[in-house]
Amino acid sequence: MPEFEPRIVAFVCNWCTYAGADLTGTSRIKYSPNVEVIRFPCTGRIDFMLLLKAFAEGADGIIISGCHPNDCHYTSGNFHARRRWILFRGLLDFMGIDVERVQFSWVSAAEGAKWADVVNTTVEAVRKLGPYENFRKIDRAGAV
């Protein structure tokens, strides 16, 4: 049986992490292909609902990444995002949604190697956790 290949969706900001991931490429640092990036202007733009949507559509893990505190291109979008994630993560955890599958990180435009590391460790961690069966099994067929 082939090894389980998790699918990871990454929501990243344009100015730090997207550029950092570009640098990973420019530096030819290899990492797992299981992750795919969706670009946002800023972590402040990322709607919490998109995380639920990603899980609902079959993501096994999620990476959210943006500029380090104080480095935000827009001064403070990441600070707002951080608050949003503090609360949202607490709520998900309380509802038994597997928050271990959501990796938040700060990756700057200079941290190409860190991006590769964030991806690889997240992929490995999610691989260990296995497919997100709870969400895959959830009923979506119709009315009760």
Binding site: A21, T24, P33, E36, R39, G44, N70, T75, R84
Partner: protein, 673 residues
């Protein structure tokens, strides 16, 4: 129905070696709405761009997806190509299959599959792209230069000489900054004031420069090309037009014992004073906190002696407003004082001084007229210990960075001391000698070899007084960390260079970012060293990080050339990636409920209130409105808005939602149709 063209680039081997580009193009062709899908060796080449243009014309495309490198590389190239072919450039997007795919994964099916995913996501995004029109904004061709030190002076002169108006605002009564306080400058040992004062005078005389000294920024609003600034001119208590700068008032002022800021507290000045003889403007100011008249209600001696009746005790602060197009921040730095170093007894022992105080002791215009005499008893110190990195490079003190200028000025100080006090002993405790710069290393070697300065590699743990001597207790790490004790007559601390007082408040006022140490942040550490993240605001000098004079001047000229480039156009074009509050038909008018919770989240104060009224003026509802000039497009408001009344052009809810859906949906595209 969308008519989307997909263009997959091999980038030579860069993509082609690991991704099966043909397969990607074939897979993209199956996506509903894709009417054209090809791959080509170099999409960014002229033939490649022509392929796109031709396809747009021939197939009447409504959207273009280029699967190639990072949009940060070639998005402008391909958008321009689309525009040339008559397609709105914002209907073109790139799928990053190079930096995010071919370069970081091994050759194989998973990599090709990922490339297909990435292209599919962008196709779904482009399907929902809307044609956007770049925003045009006018440019006011006047620059505001904040700070009148060497960086501000250089920037102001360069901009003014390019033919643009400059408003310079300086907090203290004279321009000149720290450079005017220095004795000699490394590595040439030429006199600081001799090279600075001609430039100060030029600023004062320049027809394009308006100078506001003893003034601060009250507020700034607006955006690139269109700032509105309020300047508070603090009451000088002097009629600047009537005053001739004769100096009689200062000579007669009975309050004379105020520590002089210019002499770093080593000398004194009267309550009505000109900071230093070459000050610009060379007119006095009354220090109201120390003036007898303001404290006790009588005196007014200066008023009596003034031959031109220029004293104005009842003068009030004045607010000056100005329209400006660009800002150069050149507010400089400060050195760490106070009881930051209890272990070195700074502030406790009179003969433990900082580097700026040593500059004043060594300066011919200083309190000792250039003789090195220690503050406590005026004796010439026989042994002086210089401590480099006092506070700098010390995480325990909260300052991890290198202050950069200290190695050089400490070498200069020791050298000046050896020149002025023959037979004196100069010791320098140092961590490393950082003398990178033209003629810098040679300068340090000269201090060691020609002037006999004794360099001790190690840290000083403590300085204390015993029987009239300052005991400097340290270690010599080149002698096996052996403890060293030196009985010194004076100790000079090369204290850390830190951000200026009020830098944080100013940064917040200007909406520029700043680092953990309150130095202003450049937009990119390498490629945008003079820009800030706020368009139209530039940096010069040590307000960005500790810098020496040549570096400050170079950066100032860099900032000035950026301002010049901005002022070379009458109108600016900005990307229309901005937030918009929706409007809809009555009775809703907008899904915005007017809760204004988004307002606090906006880093740019771009969210305004708009009243929707009936034709006869009756208020229907108050809703949010985004000022397109101020909005920078971060989208934080979009995520905060629970009714989804705000959306971000270019990254709309529909677009990102579709991207997430498309990314995870690997089912055969035509299966669902």
């Amino acid at each position: 129905m969308s008519r989307i063209g997909v263009f997959i680039c091999h980038c030579g081997e860069n993509i082609g070696a690991t991704v099966d580009c043909e397969k990607v193009a074939a897979a993209a062709a199956k996506i509903p709405g894709v009417v054209h899908s090809v791959d080509y060796k170099y999409m960014c080449s002229d033939p490649g761009q022509n392929m796109i243009k031709e396809a747009i014309r021939e197939k009447n495309l409504t959207g273009v997806v280029v699967g190639a490198c990072s949009p940060r590389m070639h998005e402008p190239t391909f958008r321009r190509a689309c525009e040339e072919a008559g397609l709105n450039p914002f209907l073109c997007e790139m799928a990053n299959i190079r930096e995010h795919c071919s370069w970081v994964h091994e050759k194989g099916d998973p990599t090709t599959e990922k490339a297909i995913d990435l292209v599919r996501v962008i196709v779904e995004k482009v399907r929902r792209n809307k044609p956007l029109v770049p925003i045009k904004v006018p440019v006011t061709k006047t620059a505001l230069v904040l700070g009148g030190g060497i960086a501000g002076i250089q920037a102001a002169l360069d901009i003014a000489n390019a033919g643009h108006k400059v408003i310079m605002v300086e907090r203290s009564p004279s321009i000149g900054g720290h450079m005017s306080q220095l004795s000699e400058t490394f590595p040439t040992l030429d006199c600081s004031q001799c090279i600075l004062t001609p430039r100060m005078v030029e600023v004062a005389r320049h027809a394009n420069i308006t100078l506001h000294t003893y003034s601060e920024i009250e507020s700034i609003e607006g955006f690139i090309g269109n700032f509105k600034v309020k300047i508070r001119k603090k009451a000088r208590s002097i009629d600047m037009k009537a005053c001739t700068g004769c100096g009689l008032c200062s000579q007669k002022c009975p309050t004379r014992k105020i520590p002089s800021e210019f002499d770093a507290g080593l000398g004194t000045r009267p309550a009505i004073y000109v900071p230093f003889p070459q000050a610009v403007p060379n007119k006095p100011v009354i220090d109201r906190l120390n003036c007898t008249y303001y404290l006790k209600g009588k005196c007014r001696l200066c008023e009596k002696v003034c031959p031109t009746q220029a004293i104005r005790f009842d003068q009030e602060d004045e607010i000056v407003e100005a329209d400006i197009g660009a800002v150069v921040l050149a507010t400089g730095f400060e050195i760490k004082h106070g009881d930051f170093f209890p272990e070195y007894g700074f502030g406790k022992f009179k003969d433990v001084i900082d580097g700026m105080q040593f500059e004043r002791l060594a300066s011919a215009s200083g309190p000792t007229l250039g003789e090195i005499r220690r503050p406590s008893d005026g004796k010439k110190p026989e042994t002086v210990v210089f401590i480099a990195c006092a506070g700098s490079r010390d995480p325990a003190k909260g300052i991890e960075y290198c202050s950069k200028i200290c190695c050089m000025y400490t070498a200069k100080h020791a050298m000046l001391y050896r020149h002025k006090v023959h037979g004196g002993n100069a010791y320098i405790f140092y961590m490393d000698i950082r003398a990178g710069g033209k003629m810098y290393e040679e300068f340090v070697r000269r201090a060691i070899e020609e002037d006999g300065v004794k360099y001790v590699r190690g840290r000083v743990s403590r300085v204390y007084e015993r029987e009239g001597k300052l005991i400097v207790q340290g270690a010599d790490t080149l002698l096996g960390a052996q403890p060293v004790e030196i009985e010194a007559d004076m100790v000079v601390l090369a204290t850390a260079a830190v951000a200026n007082d009020g830098a944080e408040e100013l940064a917040q006022k200007m909406h520029v970012s700043y680092d953990a140490h309150k130095f202003f942040a450049e937009a990119h550490p390498k490629l945008k060293p003079v820009e800030t993240n706020t368009a139209g605001i530039f940096l010069a000098g040590a307000c960005q990080a500790p810098k020496d004079i040549p570096e400050s001047v170079a950066q100032a000229s860099g900032a000035a050339s950026k301002v010049g480039a901005l002022f070379s156009q009458d109108e600016l074009t900005r990307e229309p990636v901005i937030a918009v509050v929706n409007r809809s038909a009555p009775p809703l008018y907008s899904t915005c409920v007017g809760c204004f919770l988004c307002q606090a989240a906006c880093p740019y104060q771009a969210i305004e209130r708009e009243e929707i009224r009936t034709r006869d003026g009756k208020l229907i509802k108050t809703v949010a409105k985004v000022n397109p000039g101020l909005c920078q497009g971060c989208g934080t408001c979009v995520a905060v808005c629970r009714t989804k009344a705000i959306d971000l052009q270019g990254f709309s809810n529909e677009q990102v939602f579709a991207e997430v859906m498309a990314l995870l949906d690997r089912s055969e595209p035509d299966a669902g149709i």
